[in-house]
């Protein structure tokens, strides 16, 4: 990265790197690529398994990036993200099965519904957590997650512990890609706006931020609500992709997975969220394939090897894979000279 700049300052690679493409070009290219992949998958030129992994990666990116808003930029330690996802998933499931015929309009209504429902719950949780900080906030969010899961387990209309079955399949790679782009456009604009500055200042020093005239409660609640909304969106996609959801899929084990991907990638970095998700998901699938290639009996070793790799990575890259840095594409143009961003 830096080596290139010092040794060959005007090489072609450096030029390409410095020429930051605009956000919209990047987004369109990304959408086009996923559209092509989806088509290839539909025509059976591309293995459905790879398509499946890409879809999972996409949904996890939305989840982790939105969690990053609260845990990374705002600097809190929220443990209830899976709960918001559950709200979104069940809202989408109800809308998709009970309201319209399967199709694009129903999908859009379901996704909007799940986003709004999760945002509402996120807003309420945000209101309640005002007084607490740090690990106390962690417990309150965790508590809400457990309450949501426990409530769903007791609602027979939603299938209770048996889960919600028979949701029509409406999500595909292209839809997920649209949602990823949407999420990242919103998050990127927020993070580099006044709101983002407020969140970072609260993270760095809440009292100083308050003295500067920042309404901490309002800023916090905004972060909470937006993060919950995107978690709900991902939940809605998830429900309509997997076609079957159970309350237990949304307990703290899910939150833990998200936390691992978030901190692995590096907090406070939008590109870190992508890298963390891709690294972790690909690692797990590579291990699965390598082990089953060697001997079918080794499948259970996967869960023994992956945590070791996780620990080693965390020991060598202490602030996650990206640290606080950002890919150039993700930071607005005007900051090119001032930001320490690279690669």
């Amino acid at each position: 990265m830096k080596q290139h700049q010092t040794t060959k300052p005007m090489s072609l690679i450096t030029k390409l790197r410095t020429a930051t493409p605009s956000w919209s070009i990047l987004a369109i290219a990304f959408l086009a690529l996923s559209g092509v992949l989806e088509l290839l998958g539909d025509m059976d030129y591309l293995n459905q398994y790879y398509l499946h992994i890409l879809i999972i990666v996409g949904m996890n990116i939305i989840l982790v990036a939105s969690l990053n808003l609260v845990n990374g930029y705002l600097g809190e330690f929220a443990l209830g993200h899976a709960g918001f996802m559950a709200v979104g998933a069940y809202t989408a499931a109800v809308i998709a099965t009970k309201i319209g015929p399967p199709g694009l309009p129903t999908l859009i209504i379901a996704l909007i519904g799940s986003t709004l429902a999760a945002a509402l719950i996120g807003y309420l949780v945000g209101l309640i957590t005002f007084k607490t900080v740090g690990d106390y906030l962690a417990i309150i969010t965790l508590g809400f997650n457990m309450i949501i899961v426990n409530a769903i387990q007791n609602i027979d209309y939603l299938g209770g512990p048996r889960g919600f079955i028979g949701i029509p399949k409406a999500t595909n790679l292209f839809i997920v890609a649209i949602c990823v782009v949407l999420t990242y456009t919103v998050l990127r604009n927020l993070v580099y706006s006044d709101h983002g500055r407020r969140w970072i200042s609260i993270r760095e020093n809440a009292i100083a931020a308050e003295l500067m005239g920042i309404d901490i409660n309002r800023a916090k609640n905004m972060a909470f609500t937006i993060a919950a909304a995107f978690a709900g969106l991902a939940g809605g996609l998830w429900a309509q992709y997997q076609q079957f959801i159970t309350p237990k899929s949304f307990d703290y084990i899910k939150t833990t997975d998200l936390l691992v991907m978030l901190y692995l990638g590096g907090t406070g970095s939008l590109s870190g969220s992508i890298l963390g998700v891709v690294f972790y998901t690909v690692l797990m699938e590579v291990l699965r394939n390598v082990l089953s290639m060697i001997d079918p009996r080794l499948a259970e070793l996967r869960m023994l090897i992956s945590p070791l790799i996780l620990v080693v990575v965390m020991l060598t890259k202490q602030s996650g894979l990206m640290g606080n840095r950002e890919w150039r594409w993700f930071s607005p143009r005007k900051e090119e000279n001032t930001d320490e961003s690279c690669s």
Partner: protein
């Protein structure tokens, strides 16, 4: 960082490029089992039984299709007992490994997550142990080797009412688990319908180990029987704690009890209890006896219900492949659906139109630390 990324990338390509190939005289069958996670003991049984079946069939010359013999190759994957991991496992088995059929998964929630994928890829799925009715509902490619919850719940309720002459019953079950809740509710309805009275209907959450609060409450209602439709790793605790609180009701359970660990853990507390099961180890049936002897010889433990049902699912599939006469998933599906009077370890299995077998249950009594056949219940 970059070097690391490059290494990872090359590993990815290597892994995906190499897997998926294999010699042409192999028939690949996928197995999705919870090898890690909260029910990994069951995943272990699944793996053991499947490997035993594979070893046997290959030692006997494999499966003959036309005039060529093929060896069976099982690809066993870990679904962690999570629906989302099961979906990934099914995608990999079907699209990457191109298996002919899938055995699994064990818990109903995982089978339900895998089923839509098997269904749309037109690959048959046989779940050994998922007793939730909605797993096979409206699905053409999904089968199971076991009976379903409503049948079992009714069998126990009738047994309690008629054979044990119980008038009042208490139930303690795991409200967060679909299996336990399903049977508990059927039992409640059937027992009431038969003229009995449910005096306590108490719940707990998966992984709870202290049931004294609920049992104290149940003791206050003084029931004739206590029904515990829960898993073998929780039941001994529940019974021990019930006895320590001085509860005297007769205790009944369901097929989740069937595991050698039940008696190992529960010891004398288990004496005189009853549970419904897929088969009875002491029954005079050559297939059952053979299987138990072979399994014990190879792994040095008694097989549990999950092992027996997995073994049955494997042979059901082997027979179907043989009958289909070609390595074609749709033909294999049709052959499975046409299965009549397949004589397995856990009883005779026939399918008539749906993916649920027509199959009976047995009631087992625990006497002197052994599972003893008590009575049979037929559909």
């Amino acid at each position: 960082m970059r070097k690391f990324g490059f290494m990872l990338l090359s590993l990815v390509f290597l892994a995906f490029a190499v897997s998926g190939c294999g010699p042409s005289n192999e028939l690949k069958i996928g197995v999705s089992a919870p090898l890690t996670g909260d029910i990994s003991a069951l995943g272990q049984s699944t793996k053991n039984a499947a490997l035993l079946a594979q070893e046997e069939i290959n030692a006997a010359g494999g499966i003959k299709l036309g005039d060529k013999s093929y060896t069976v190759k099982l690809i066993i994957e870990d679904d962690e007992n999570k629906p989302e991991s099961t979906a990934t496992v099914f995608q990999k088995l079907i699209n990457q490994d191109k298996v002919l059929a899938i055995i699994g998964s064990q818990s109903s929630k995982c089978s339900n997550a895998g089923a839509p994928i098997a269904e749309s890829a037109k690959v048959a799925q046989i779940s050994p142990w998922s007793t939730n009715p909605n797993v096979t509902k409206d699905r053409n490619y999904v089968f199971r080797a076991c009976f379903i919850d409503p049948f079992q719940g009714k069998a126990v309720a009738i047994f309690a009412k008629d054979k044990l002459n119980a008038k009042t019953a208490a139930v303690l079950y795991d409200v967060a688990s679909d299996y336990n809740k399903g049977i508990a509710e059927v039992f409640r309805d059937e027992f009431t319908k038969a003229g009995g009275q449910i005096v306590a209907f108490e719940t707990y959450m998966t992984k709870d180990t202290d049931f004294s609060a609920q049992l104290t409450k149940i003791k206050g209602t003084n029931p004739d029987i206590l029904f515990l439709p829960n898993y073998f790793n929780e039941v001994p605790l529940q019974i021990q704690q019930a006895l320590k609180l001085g509860l005297t009701a007769k205790i009944l359970g369901s097929d989740g009890w069937d595991n050698p660990e039940l008696i190992k853990m529960g010891g004398s507390a288990m004496e005189g209890t009853y549970f419904s099961n897929h088969y009875s180890p002491d029954i005079d049936r050559s297939a059952s006896k053979d299987f138990i002897a072979k399994y014990q010889k190879k792994y040095n433990i008694m097989p549990d219900a999950a092992a027996a049902l997995t073994y049955d699912s494997c042979y059901l599939l082997f027979k179907a492949i043989e009958k289909a006469g070609k390595a074609d998933p749709t033909a294999i599906r049709d052959a499975i659906a046409a299965t009549k009077n397949f004589s397995g370890v856990t009883g005779d299995i026939s399918y008539d139109g749906s993916g649920d077998p027509v199959k009976g249950a047995v009631i087992i009594k625990i006497e002197n630390g052994k599972f003893v056949f008590d009575s049979a219940v037929n559909p």
